[in-house]
Amino acid sequence: MSSVLQLKNVHKAFAGVPALAGIDASLANDTYVSLLGPSGSGKTTLLRVIAGFEQPDSGEILFSGRRIDGVPPHERGIGFVFQNFALFPHLSVAENIAFGLTNRAVDPVTDAKVVAGRVRDIIGLVGLSGLEDRATTQISGGQKQRVALARTLVTEPSMVLLDEPLGALDANLRMRMRGELRTIRERCGVTFLHVTGSETEALAMGDTVLVLDAGRIAQSTDADTLYSRPASADVARFLNCYNIFPGAVSGDAFASPVGALALGGVKQTSGNPAYAIRYDRVAIRPTDAATADDEVRIEASFVASEYSGAAINSFFTLDDGRVFEVETHLSHAAPATYEEKGRYALVWKREDALVFV
C-alpha cells in the first residue's frame, strides 16, 4: 500500500519544552490509523503540525509525496475534526457543511445546484437527513459530531485528522460512533488519523495503531500485535493490561523487587529493562497449591476486586507494596471469592511473560 503521509524527524518545542522530539511515521493510504498516547505526549501538537496550525521546528512532512511543511492549512487538503466540533454557530447544519465547498480559496464550487447536491449526498452518508435546516444549537452531541465530520468529508480531503472525536460524547454514544466512524471511512476510502487517550478505543478503531510517548513514536503496528507484543515497558503501561516489574536479567532469571522471576518467554530489546505479565494470564491459587515446572509463582495479599460483567479484576499487594492486578474471565467459571488480606499464590506460565532487556 502506498503511503499518504510521511513524517521525517519532525521536531517541535514550545518555549524550549519539546513536544515532538523526532517523529518518524508513514501512514498508509485508505486505512484507519489510531494514535494513542497519554495526555502530554504530544498527540494534539502532532495533529496540529500535520494540519498546519503549528509549524514544525525541523523535519519534513510529505503529503501524497509533496512537502507541505510551510504550506498554510487552507492549501493542504487535509481535513480536521475538532474535539469540541467547532461548528459555525451562526450557520445551519446544511450551511456548515457547504462552507468548505463555497468558501475555499482553491477551486471553490460556485454552482448552487452542485453544492446542494453534494451537501445532500454527504448528509445521507453521515445520517443527518431531515436536520438540514436546524441551527447547530438545536442538535445533540452525536449529531454535532456528524456535522463536523460531514463538513470535512464534503471537501473530499485525502486524509482526515480527528482530535479525540469521541471525547465529548457519552459512553453509549461513543460505542455506537466507533462503528459508524469506521463505516463512514470505508465508504469514503480516505485515511483517518484518530487521536485518542483511550487504549480500548485505539485498539478497537485502528487498522494501525501508533503509540506516542514523550514526543516520539514508540510503536506502530496492528492492534493484535500491539496488545500481545508491546515494544517497550512504557507502551505496555499505556495499554493498561500489564503488571510491570523493573529490574534486570541475571543468568536465567529476571531480578525484580519481589524476587527472581524465571525466564522463558519472549525477550525484546528496548532501552529500559522490565518484566511484564498480562492481567489475564495470571491464575490465583491457594498458597499450598502445587506449581508446575514451567510456571512462575509469587505470593501476595488480596485487597479488593472489581466486577465488570464479563470479567472480574482482583487487586493484590505484593510484599514491596506494589499493586498487582489479575483479570479473570467469567465465561467459564463463576467468580471466586477471596478473603481480604488473605495470602494467595499468583501463578503464570514462563512463556506468557514479556521480558524487555
Binding site: 498546519g52 496550525f53 492549512p73 469540541n84 454557530p89 468548505g100 475555499r104 480559496a105 470535512t152 471537501t155
Partner: protein, 301 residues
C-alpha cells in the same frame, strides 16, 4: 432593554415554580427601578410633549394649547437645517467610529491571544476618560488650530506652506472630536464579541480551505455583529444628544439639535426647546429601533 427582558422572563419563572412568595418578590425587585423610570423618565417626557404645545410669547409661556411652535420649527430653515446637520454628523461619526474602532477591536479581541494583554489594551482605550469631557474636547484646539500642532508639523516638514484653516472651527473638527471621544464605545462591545469567538472555529474555517478575507466576511463579521449593533447604539444615542463638542470645536458654525435646545432654554423659549426635544427623542427612538432590527440581541447575547 433590561426592563423588557425582565418582564418577559417573569411569567416563565412563576409558571415553573408556582410559589406564593414569587410575585411578591418580583414586585419588590421591580418597584425601585420602575418608580425611578416613571418619575424621572416617563413623566418628564410626557411633560416635554405637553409643553411643546404651549403658547410661547417673547417674555412668557402660557399653557394654552397651540401648534404654533411646531409650525415654526418645521417651516424654519434654521431648525430644519439643524435637524439635517444632526443626522449628517451622526451618520459620519457612526461610520468613522466603526472604521477606526473595528480594526482596533479586531486586534484586541482576536489577534491578541494573551487575555491579560488584551484587557490591558482595552484599559488603554479608556485612559482618555480619566480626564474631564471638556478638557478632552478643548485639547483639540491647540492640536487642530491655525497655529496648532498639526499645522506646525506639516509646515515644518514642508508638506504645506499655508496653514490648513478648515481643521478647526468647522464641521471637520466636530467630526474629529466626536470620533475620538466616542470611538471607545464602539471598540468595547465589538472586542467583547470577538473575544467570545472560539479560536477553533476560525481554525476550522481555515482547514476547510477559506482564506483570511473569506473567513472575515463569512465567520468573524457575522459573529461580531451584535457587538457592532450595541456599539452603534451607544455611539448614536450619545452623538444625537451632543451639543458640547460642536459648541467648543465648531465656533458656532455647526448647530445640532442639542445646541438649538441649549440656546432656546437659555432664552427661556421653553416651547421651542420642547419641540426640538420631542423631535430629538423620536429620532433617537427610531435609530435604536432600526439598529435592533439588524440583529436579534436577545438571541445573540
Amino acid at each position: 432593554m433590561t426592563m423588557a427582558a425582565t418582564s418577559h422572563d417573569t411569567p416563565v419563572e412563576t409558571a415553573e415554580r408556582p410559589t406564593r412568595k414569587q410575585p411578591d418578590r418580583t414586585f419588590w425587585l421591580l418597584a425601585p427601578g420602575a418608580l425611578w423610570m416613571l418619575l424621572f423618565l416617563v413623566a418628564p417626557i410626557l411633560m416635554m410633549v405637553y409643553v411643546s404645545f404651549w403658547t410661547q410669547t417673547t417674555f412668557k409661556i402660557e399653557p394654552t394649547l397651540t401648534l404654533k411652535s411646531w409650525i415654526t420649527f418645521f417651516t424654519s430653515d434654521t431648525y430644519l437645517g439643524a435637524l439635517w446637520t444632526t443626522v449628517r454628523i451622526w451618520l459620519i461619526v457612526l461610520v468613522s467610529t466603526l472604521l477606526v474602532g473595528y480594526p482596533a477591536a479586531l486586534f484586541v479581541g482576536l489577534f491578541v491571544k494573551n487575555k491579560t494583554l488584551s484587557t490591558a489594551l482595552l484599559v488603554l482605550c479608556v485612559i482618555p476618560f480619566w480626564t474631564s469631557f471638556l478638557i478632552r474636547v478643548l485639547a483639540w484646539r491647540p492640536m487642530l488650530g491655525k497655529e496648532g500642532a498639526i499645522n506646525m508639523i506639516l509646515m515644518k516638514i514642508g508638506v504645506i506652506t499655508q496653514p490648513i484653516e478648515v481643521l478647526l472651527f468647522s464641521e471637520l473638527s466636530v467630526i474629529i472630536g466626536m470620533t475620538q471621544i466616542y470611538c471607545v464605545f464602539m471598540v468595547g462591545p465589538i472586542a467583547f464579541m470577538l473575544g467570545r469567538i472560539d479560536p477553533s472555529v476560525i481554525e476550522a474555517a481555515q482547514d476547510l480551505g477559506a482564506g483570511f478575507w473569506r473567513i472575515f466576511r463569512t465567520i468573524i463579521l457575522p459573529l461580531s455583529m451584535p457587538g457592532v449593533v450595541v456599539g452603534a447604539i451607544f455611539v448614536s444615542v450619545m452623538v444625537l444628544g451632543e451639543f458640547a463638542t460642536s459648541a467648543a470645536l465648531s465656533g458656532r458654525k455647526v448647530n445640532l439639535l442639542g445646541n438649538i435646545i441649549v440656546t432656546q432654554v437659555g432664552s427661556l423659549k421653553w416651547a421651542f426647546a420642547a419641540v426640538a426635544g420631542v423631535v430629538l427623542t423620536i429620532l433617537m427612538g427610531a435609530v435604536v429601533a432600526a439598529l435592533l432590527r439588524v440583529v436579534d440581541l436577545r438571541k445573540e447575547l
